[in-house]
Subunit: 352 residues, 4 copies
């Protein structure tokens, strides 16, 4: 009954097999290998455009490095106050941008929109006394499992263009969002105004690889220096390339995401039927945010269910009341229906 | 005929197998997994002491992070002018220490000693106008393939203690050096005064894992924050742990290093017998620095031999003369005798 | 009618005279001069304790450097969201701390308290994924002209001690706050738990000098390196020392602050009597925050009154309504009663 | 007998008077005042071209900020190994550029030339493994008191253009160099290829002001943010402006420099005639580097002469021998002939 994170999941067998297959003979190091080259070509097919892409080993690196290409040390990046880059990366964006500030923006479900962005920009009237707004970062799907529809991204993209801001998408769970919207990868990103994205694979079946994908390829100038300088150029780069290639091959990434999302819906549907439990937010990707009676929460954890309680105030007015707790349950491509049924059975038994 | 780098080599089959074996079910993320825990225990056995260890994906990260624990932004780290940290990491040490400077020290074979260190310290008499000497970093084996014997490390260690300096060892090729000296891992490191080391595995058979090993465990305080902040905390950490565990298991690391060194000796021995070729330095680990006639060099490269020419001035007075070129040939655990024999045959034929 | 800022004021004649007096013969550079030494001794008298003090030329430098002594690159400093360090220093605290984050805390009048600090600490439960809370910074008087009474500082000081946090006071307008409370400088700072403060002089009569004052002198270790590294060690340091000495001599600083505060009260009293005008906040130091009808505001500015409108949302529920605007008027030691009477006459005439 | 530094000198009376004259009424803060505006206009006359200029309080700030406009965090700046920016600014250039490295270049008298620059560039063949050469910085006059003639600057300027490098001039003693060459300020800077310079005034009569002067004005974009972010925007900016204006007014700066240089020549001429003393370098600006018998050195210092001994190895082959010491004596506009004669009398007496 593992619902703590999509990070605790195993590697998809096809990706593991690709690592073995790549392990033959010598290969150019530092990303100059054939696997990486082919992964880049495949990314261009996926996004239906020319890109500049860079593979790194962690999502934090992908985000912070991507931001370093669009925000200067005297700039600021607008993002939701609860964005991963602002609350879970220990200052990596600030470090790798050389000092850009993150300006928190409000919004329910960890989503920002044109209105809250506009409000966040309002105080920037004092010139060089403040760091200059240079970019916006949105998370797709958000830290509360919500997705931005194509129109929503496009509205933000248009806003950014009008204000001279660059747009970054933290796509650690991009696949989950993409299959949820039903849109094309192109429509949901560069056609909607995204300049650079962190294209996640690790949470969705890879061992450890994320791509920084530049749609505005001019932004990628000298980017390899930034990757190296932060220690993220991998010497045996073929094994990043092979992962990404296998991830994209045969649309494994989309199949994995569909499965993870389906498991989340199954879990959410079952939980809603449990007395005393309610969903805090609709399920749109592979995360379920539910409100549990504290007693039920204790019993479930005691019975071996792994998931996290979450700060209730993030939900807003419909958050947990006295005697309740907000919880987050995450599914992945590897989640088995039996685990869900097992958890639901426990929940029903406790609630009865 | 691949002698460009030990980075171009494949992963040792036992390590790859360990990745597959670790890929079962869920595991705690961010390094809290069982494989990592066991790898740490094994490192403590190897070094015969209590350590604090951290696994990261690249050698540059290991070095720069290790230095961040012993040098402050207003400090300087003394290292050989040709040290990897000074010439091949694109400023990662400066970035991750928050601004510590690297002070170049002289020495043949990329080795520093007490005398050259002492000389490098001499200009530091102007207090806060200069960054303060805080640490020394040595590379074992050096960038020119030379090793520090136990006594040499110990002399530097004693010097550091006397001057209030911390001692870091860049051990990207530590295994190769260790088997060459015949010393114990403990004798060659903490017993000789090393405070923290970068313990390499990638060049010697792993896919991509290095350990930052603190012998002075107090230095490791809050180190995990530094790892995270630079984007080097891996979410599916079990796959770093599994690599390191397999690397150490059954002393695979030592066997690999012995084999790589033996291949280097075989290669060097053969080259010495080729007319017009001479060794620029004795072979002490898994790198051969030789001086080739330019014409031979061109022919060998044309025939498919992969290796790099190297800046001749690094050798000093015995470097290449007119019509000659300094070259570096690197062997690894995966180097096959046939490759060597093939290269030697080509060389002999060309030289004839 | 100059009420834009206490930064637009001239230098107090006694301080200017001190610069002339100091301009005789040669003097040791870089702060090793006699004037600086005597200023430090005088600061120790003022604060009735042993201190380590450093003179710099700007308030931003004083704040950012002070914070660099109590917050590490992986730490965070809690401060009011509208604190000068968070909104008006263009990222200097982040730069000079090497990357510490600022965590915004709520509170009316730009004041934080134990409750809002406690609330701001609550999300810090995820270990190395977040920067670690290490310090609190409060502004005395605040950016909205409010003061912390001794008991309020002491409560925050006790909270910090209990949580292992260091306490910084941004005292750009410390003199104004001090005379307003009637407390001793010691009671309002180190006796209440302040570890380090920025002791302002520029806004209160100096040409350009601020002191970083360490009450916990151990924190000052190697601080001069940080000052130098940021370019804030002044070569002809006697002229910083002479300013600070004259500022403290004969309690000029207190006399200046009393006068500035008195002018603010005179101005506020007059404004309250103008139809349609109301005070947004009580006057506690040398700043008046008032709410003007938009029409009156326009007329006053047209007639040559210099002051700024201010973001109304900072006041909270009692802020400006439709047709109104929040304004800030600042007085200084140099404000003349005639300027105030002139402004009030204009205001009364317009409002009539 | 003060020859320790031009930093120990007083402020020129005309500049001090200008501060008093500027101290009337209110003035716009943060550099928007009239004095600063006029100083900028005067700088444009001096350099006979359109510039963007910024006034800061220290030479270290001017240098580090200037470099931040021409070198990125992944770049490197070539400069003489003994350049002030490399040895006397405690890492300020690295801090304010966000991490650019300084690459030491060789050359006698602390001067670099096209050949030594070319040699220093040679190792940069490994792409992103090394920080990319982006700029050259030269000091005029150098740290050993030598000057670059117009042709020498122009040769370096042409080299930089050809290699895509920007050229910075550290002109802490620019006035002394300028009057020594007899060239125009334009010829010695932008016409010779200098993109940005640090234009010093403090060592030559000001209290504390230096200008960052951009000849390529596009480089100044957003520069005020960088100045602010490092804490170098002064609130009462008129007092920086007034200093610079008075410094330039009536060519006071040139008169001061001529006087300082003349004093250096008088001193050098006298020393040469002292038995056992010889000049280590020709006198070209306001610094005398001489070689003293150790015994004479001790006696002079005991008799109250202030000057520094200097690392002898910087001179090269003609440096001090056993029983000798290299010393630096600096003159300024305020040096009185009597001081020189006094020192010479002591020296002659001791040497006799």
């Amino acid at each position: 009954m593992e619902f703590a994170s999509d990070n605790t999941a195993m590697v998809h067998p096809a990706i593991l097999a690709a690592l073995s297959a790549a392990n033959a003979g010598t290969a150019a190091s530092y990303g100059a290998d054939d696997w990486t080259r082919r992964a880049m070509a495949r990314l261009e097919e996926v996004f239906e455009t020319r890109i500049r892409g860079f593979l790194v080993g962690t999502g934090t690196a992908a985000n912070a490095l991507a931001l370093s290409a669009i925000a200067s040390p005297v700039g600021t990046v607008l993002c939701h106050g609860e964005a991963h880059i602002n609350t879970d990366e220990c200052g990596a964006p600030e470090l790798l941008t050389g000092g850009a500030k993150l300006t928190p923006v409000e919004g329910t479900g960890c989503k920002v929109d044109v209105d809250t962005l506009d409000g966040a920009l309002r105080p920037f009237v004092r010139g060089f006394h403040q760091q200059a707004p240079q970019a916006v970062s949105i998370t797709q799907a958000t830290e509360l499992g919500m997705i931005y529809e194509v129109e929503e991204v496009a509205a933000i993209g248009a806003f950014c263009r009008a204000r001279g801001l660059r747009l970054h998408m933290d796509g650690a769970r991009f696949a989950n969002a993409l299959v949820s919207t039903g849109a094309s990868a192109a429509d949901l990103t560069w056609k909607a105004g995204v300049d650079v994205m962190s294209f996640g694979a690790t949470k969705n079946g890879a061992m450890g690889v994320e791509a920084v994908v530049f749609f505005d390829t001019a932004l990628a100038e000298a980017f390899e220096y930034r990757v190296k300088r932060s220690g993220h150029v991998v010497s045996k780069g073929r094994f990043l390339g092979a992962q990404m290639l296998a991830y994209l091959e045969g649309d494994l990434w989309l199949a994995n995401a569909r499965r993870a999302n389906a498991m989340a819906h199954r879990l959410a549907g079952g939980l809603e039927a449990v007395a005393g439990v309610r969903l805090a937010l609709p399920v749109q990707a592979n995360e379920v945010f539910a409100i549990f009676p504290v007693r039920l929460h204790g019993r479930l954890q005691a019975s071996g269910a792994h998931y996290y309680d979450w700060p209730g105030e993030r939900i807003g007015d419909d958050g947990p009341r006295a005697g309740e707790v907000l919880v987050r349950l995450v599914t992945s491509f590897a989640t088995r229906p039996e685990e869900i049924d097992n958890l639901l059975a426990h929940a029903r038994a406790e609630a009865a």
